[in-house]
Amino acid sequence: MIEQLLPNASQMTDDFVQATIETIVMVSVAMVIAGVIGLLLGIVLLVTGEYGLRPNRVVYWTLDQIVNIGRSIPFIILLAIIMPFTRLLVGTSIGTTAVTVPIVVGTIPFFARQVQNALLEVDPGVVEAAKAMGTSDTGIVFRVYLREGLVSLIRAASFTIINLIGLTAMAGVVGGGGLGSTALQDGYQRGRTDVTFTAMVLILIIVFITQVIGNIAVRIASHGRS
């Protein structure tokens, strides 16, 4: 039955397992690296912004522009543009490792903005109260912003991960591995519609699982409040 519906895909179980693992690894590695850097940049944007703890026009303006530009470059173009940098960094410009570089670079500004917006949702009144209690700026970032903004941050992170899954699929174009490559090279280019279809379903399942985990994390972080 499955063999009839998916004549090619059913013969490629191992390839699909392999591709799924590659996708998950790429997404995880990219999220960890872009997550840390993006979080830091998001906090800097927040702190140096007009109503931030330490407003600094020059720093804010510069970073803001970089983030804007970084977010507006289409991923496919970014992929090509930073190829020399990728080669320099990981010694190759094709394959899973190589493709992780532009994915990280593309995700950093995206996540930084998400972080900034998530933390801007924290009630300024609470920040004011913390200041009035003699809390230091560092204390306010860690004990107020990151804590009060945790739920929004988790939402931002799962949104970013879903976006990342999209990028890894696109990375299939340059032989980046993962389900994107499978869909494109083993499926589309060879006219095996069932392979493309299966890869898509697997990608959707990963997206779905990400959402479920995100929602559970939100529920835990908000003590069942939202």
Binding site: D123, G125, E128, A129, A130, A132, M133, T135, S136
Partner: protein, 353 residues
């Protein structure tokens, strides 16, 4: 308290001099606080009233330097705050508790942890911390809610948590910015009662911003009226209520003494007769005066409304009256003023359409 000259100035726990705060660029600059000086007696409750935008919040935020003034000096508990490093200022801020209109509690922390937040770096160990927090929550009457989250509490309960948090570092001063403005009248009274209790039991000086004169009447010793960045009138509450010098102050008082509501009805009821408002304070009874008015000037007084309130144990009376004729009114007014009773016409005597 020992009564010598030096103590007089030391008894001022907050001294703001010549504070100026403006916002925005030159041409569009708004002067939110315009050369204001303010000194607050230790242990007193100081009210600041004014309409929205008068500069009350800005002025009060200068006290803990949440707002740095453009010029002026800020001395709190003998310390010149403007001269302090960031770190020392943070330490001084622990001596100045603050509560807000919208409570500003952390939604992600329980009631207990909200108070515990303020105690970070206090040097207390876990046990001492727990004792302090439970004591405070007990003081504000909300100990049973310590494991709840703020969104499980009513407004009044939230403000109690905020008060406990503000008191956590045993401050000498408590700043309240519209602390009761988001509460219903009954809860407002309960919170004000709690503030009064804290003031009396712990000797904490309270500065309280409000736009309701009712609140001032309830708990303040001293009041300052702000308008457009300046303090236009200030003094003891009884004194200000019985003898406001400024039109705006009088307006505020009207809203607090229920005369406002009474006036409407009475003016209608007076059916075109002129209605006068008589105000008297202290141990002055109204009846003999009314008798005197008749004896001396042949005026029959109709009392349409009378109310006596006690402010800091001083009775403050308000009457709305009409007279049967106007013949000797000028001499009657002079007589009343001589007796320390103010008289003011509240309607023109013409019937409104």
């Amino acid at each position: 308290m020992r009564g010598d000259q030096r103590m007089v100035s030391e008894a001022k726990v907050i001294e703001l001099s010549d504070i100026v705060v403006s916002f925005g660029q030159k041409q569009h600059a708004v002067t939110a606080v315009d050369h204001v000086s303010l000194s607050v007696d230790k242990g007193s409750i100081y009210g600041i009233v004014g309409f929205s935008g008068a500069g009350k919040s800005t002025l009060v935020r200068v006290i803990n330097l949440l707002q740095r003034p453009d010029s002026g000096s800020v001395v709190v508990d003998g310390v010149d705050l403007l001269g302090l490093s960031t770190q020392k200022l943070r330490k001084e801020r622990k001596n100045i508790g603050m509560i807000f209109q919208h409570f500003n509690l952390m939604e992600s922390r329980t009631v207990f942890d909200n108070v515990a937040f303020a105690l970070k770096g206090s040097g207390l160990n876990k046990q001492e911390r727990r004792e302090r927090i439970e004591h405070l929550l007990d003081l504000v009457g909300i100990l049973d809610k310590q494991k709840s989250y703020p969104d499980q509490l009513s407004g009044g309960q939230k403000q109690r948590v905020a008060i406990a948090r503000a008191l956590a570092n045993e401050p000498n001063i408590l700043l309240c910015d519209e602390a009761t403005s988001a509460l219903d009248p009954k809860t407002t009274l309960a919170v004000l009662k709690l503030l009064k209790e804290i003031n009396q039991r712990l000797g904490i000086t309270i500065v309280l911003i409000t736009h309701e004169m009712q609140v001032v009447k309830e708990i303040c010793d001293t009041v300052a009226v702000m308008d457009a960045g300046s303090i236009i009138e200030r003094g003891g509450v009884a004194e200000i209520f019985s003898d406001p010098k400024h039109e705006l102050t009088a307006d505020f008082i009207r809203t607090a003494t229920h005369v406002e509501q009474a006036e409407q009805t009475i003016v209608e009821y007076a059916k075109g007769r002129k209605v006068y408002e008589l105000k008297f304070s202290g141990e002055r009874a109204s009846e003999p005066v009314i008798v005197e008015l008749y004896k001396r000037f042949g005026l029959t007084t109709n009392v349409m409304y009378g109310n006596v309130e006690y402010l800091q144990n001083t009775p403050l009376g308000t009457m709305l009256v009409t007279f049967d004729n106007d013949d000797h009114l000028d001499s009657a007014k002079e007589f009343l003023n001589g007796e320390g009773i103010s008289i003011q016409q509240v309607n023109t005597g013409e019937r409104r359409a």
